[in-house]
């Protein structure tokens, strides 16, 4: 800024000083000084900006809110908080809970069917007076991968979206510059803390507990410039970390890049997936995210009474019973499937789309085989399709240290249950 002021002064002076030696000397000095101030490399202050790497064949538009630019320090803080069981605002071993309790790295940041605590992969919240055994979540867990590329709403019904003007429950307020809202990935953090079916806690308790942990003082200072801990900062850091979780190291991705070949069965499955006969691609393709991030009634039911379907968000009757088509990356290890976890295995899902569809007035027209109850695959075709779906597993992601629980959290860190697959 100062350099700019000097440079402007110098230019203005040129018109008036030609006749005076001293003025010329002064001008030269000013210009020299002005130029000189631009030469030194700017001193880096504050956190280090994180430049999101471009991923070939993935979207170039990133869902990063302006008010939460990503930084190296913010991401690292977010990783700690993501795994820190004290995010629940409690320290007793039975009351520890964090994002990682349900979003487990080794199962693609989903809960998994064989979770030791959550039977059949259905999570429930910490015990409360009303729910001594913990309140079950209304929907099953969605995986936390490639969310930075999703512009079309988070959760099964897409309720979390920039267009959502609803404000959170009374009695809470962000201590930062944001309001308690339902707009961003960040919103899911405060929601998870207060939701009875998750941490069943309070923002105050969480902020106070995290703020009392010595380790975090320097981390918050590194990420935000001061040691202050508030829910806004906690939310932003966790969202930054989650945005870095990119899954693109799967076989089919490498096949598209011509780095590997598919086996004959995988290739037949690929052609079936991307055909009118199998017809998976209209909802689960587009870019290599293996989802359109759109919402569909996929012919599972004839009666619709879920207060959290897409209709609850849009008010459009045709959205009754509609939910997001999730990415099929890691579908091999993401069971149970569908918003209500009704299918335990990938085979059950394939059987459903083959012969289990049921018609309703709300079914999406892309389910064009609904009158035949499905695409009617042979057993060989089902096996081929499954072979292709298994090429969508990003095995490296499941153990990548950059996404893992920090050792420094010790007993408070939510440790991975291990991949049962």
């Amino acid at each position: 800024m100062m350099g700019r002021i000097f440079r402007n002064s110098g230019l203005r002076s040129q018109k008036n000083v030609f006749g005076s030696y001293w003025e010329q000397l002064l001008l030269i000095s000013v210009i020299f000084y002005s130029c000189n101030t631009e030469d030194p490399a700017p001193i880096q202050e504050g956190p280090t900006p994180f430049v999101f790497p471009e991923v070939q064949h993935f979207p170039t538009e990133l869902n990063i809110p302006e008010q939460n630019p990503m930084t190296v320090e913010g991401i690292e803080l977010g990783r700690y908080l993501f795994y820190d069981g004290r995010l629940s605002g409690r320290t007793h071993p039975d009351s520890l809970m964090s994002c990682a309790t349900c979003h487990i790295q080794s199962t693609g940041f989903e809960t998994s069917l064989d979770h030791p605590k959550f039977k059949d992969g259905h999570p429930f919240g910490l015990p409360t007076e009303n729910y001594p055994e913990g309140k079950p979540t209304p929907h099953y867990t969605m995986h936390l991968i490639n969310l930075v590329y999703n512009p079309n709403g988070y959760l099964w019904n897409g309720m979390i979206h920039e267009s959502n003007d609803r404000i959170g429950p009374e009695g809470y307020d962000f201590m930062g510059d944001d309001h308690l809202n339902f707009k961003y990935l960040e919103s899911l953090v405060w929601m998870g803390i207060v939701a009875e079916h998750e941490m069943a806690g309070s923002i105050e308790k969480t902020v106070n507990l995290i703020g009392s942990i010595p380790m975090y003082k320097s981390m918050f200072k590194a990420a935000y410039g001061t040691e202050e801990v508030n829910i806004d900062r906690i939310s932003k850091a966790i969202a930054q970390f989650v945005r870095t979780i990119v899954a693109n190291r799967f076989k089919f991705y490498r096949y598209v890049r011509r780095e590997v070949e598919l086996t004959p069965a995988e290739f037949r499955g690929y052609e079936l997936f991307f055909s009118e006969d199998g017809d998976c691609f209209h909802c689960h393709a587009g870019s290599l995210l293996m989802t359109t991030n759109e919402y569909f009634n996929n012919a599972k039911d004839t009666v619709f009474n879920d207060p959290r379907d897409r209709f609850a968000v849009t008010g459009d009757l045709m959205n009754k019973g509609a939910y997001k088509a999730p990415s099929l990356i890691n579908c091999e290890i993401n069971g149970p499937y569908m918003h209500d976890g009704r299918f335990k295995t990938l085979d059950e899902v394939i059987d459903f789309y083959s012969e289990g569809l049921v018609y309703s007035d709300y079914v999406d027209p892309l389910m064009k085989y609904v009158k035949e109850n499905g695409v009617q695959m042979t057993e060989e075709e089902k096996a081929d399709l499954k072979a292709f779906l298994l090429t969508l597993t990003d095995h490296e992601l499941l153990t990548d240290p950059q996404y893992s629980c920090p050792d420094e959290l010790g007993d408070f860190g939510i440790q991975d249950i291990g991949n049962p697959y």
Partner: protein
């Protein structure tokens, strides 16, 4: 005296300079806005209502429409062409995304008389490259590689809805068009068929005034997809046609009178 002459000459030069400058800066451009609409029998579509009947007698409804247009060109009375937003521009329209239904063209449009508007329905093969679009919603228009090859990366159009089939059931249809295929007896693709078409819109002459914005309603008249020269019968082709070149060929032919424009003004102040 000498000084006065110099001042006079200087003033004349300045006057000429400013005179020329004002001529050079005189506005010779206007702006153009397209507003896309989708109609049946001259009325805006009422989505999700099984109330329409096509030329083949199918009762049908429309759920949504997504489509591409490209090479949008204004032709003036001298035959010169003005390509909107350049050769590489592909415009996407989606009835579920209101923002895509208004296209405010960034370019300055030269003033003058234009005799027609021409465009390509869909995308020409050399531009329809797989993985061209990485971002939604355009990327969601993907057309499978083995059904379109290197010049068939994306649907031209997805028009989804339902029709009342012969057994009187409300049945889904995907009226999707893109690159077609010719199959041999073993069911293998032996040739791809480009189904995009160029269309000069009738009654599309207009005058572009200086410093004004001309608004043009660009309409898809849906009933004509099923009408002329071929009657398109959903009972014949069913719910899926991406691998049915006979059906897509008819759609291509029927596109002849699907599109029209209405000029909403003669130019409003920018």
């Amino acid at each position: 005296m000498e000084t006065r002459s110099r001042i006079t000459i200087l003033l004349i030069v300045i006057a000429i300079f400013f005179n020329c400058q004002s001529e050079n800066e005189s506005p010779s451009f206007g702006k153009l806005i397209f507003e896309f609409g989708h109609q049946i029998n001259g009325v805006d579509v009422r989505y999700d209502q099984l109330i329409y009947e096509n030329a083949a007698g199918n009762v049908y409804e429309i759920t949504n429409i997504q489509w591409f247009m490209s090479d949008i060109t204004l032709v003036n009375k001298n035959g010169n062409e003005f390509l909107l937003e350049g050769d590489d521009w592909i415009h996407y329209i989606d009835t579920d995304i209101p923002e895509t239904q208004i296209w405010e063209i960034d370019q300055d449009i030269p003033t003058g008389e234009y005799v027609s508007i021409r465009f390509t329905f869909g995308i020409k093969g050399e531009k329809n490259i797989p993985n061209r679009f990485t971002d939604p919603p355009e990327s969601n228009m993907l057309w499978p590689y083995h059904m379109g090859g290197d010049e068939g990366g994306y649907h031209y159009m997805k028009l989804n809805g339902f029709w009342r089939s012969l057994n009187l059931e409300r049945t889904p249809f995907n009226f999707h068009i893109g690159v077609g295929q010719i199959y041999n007896d073993q069911g293998e693709v032996i040739e791809f068929v480009q189904n995009w078409f160029e269309k000069e819109i009738p009654s599309s002459s207009f005058s572009m005034p200086a410093e004004k914005t001309v608004r043009i309603a660009f309409k898809m008249n849906i009933e004509n997809w099923f009408k002329n020269p071929h009657e398109y019968d959903h009972n014949q082709y069913g719910g899926k046609i991406m691998n049915n070149q006979e059906a897509m060929g008819k759609i291509k032919d029927n596109g002849i009178d699907v599109f029209s424009v209405v000029f909403l003004n003669d130019g409003e102040n920018i």
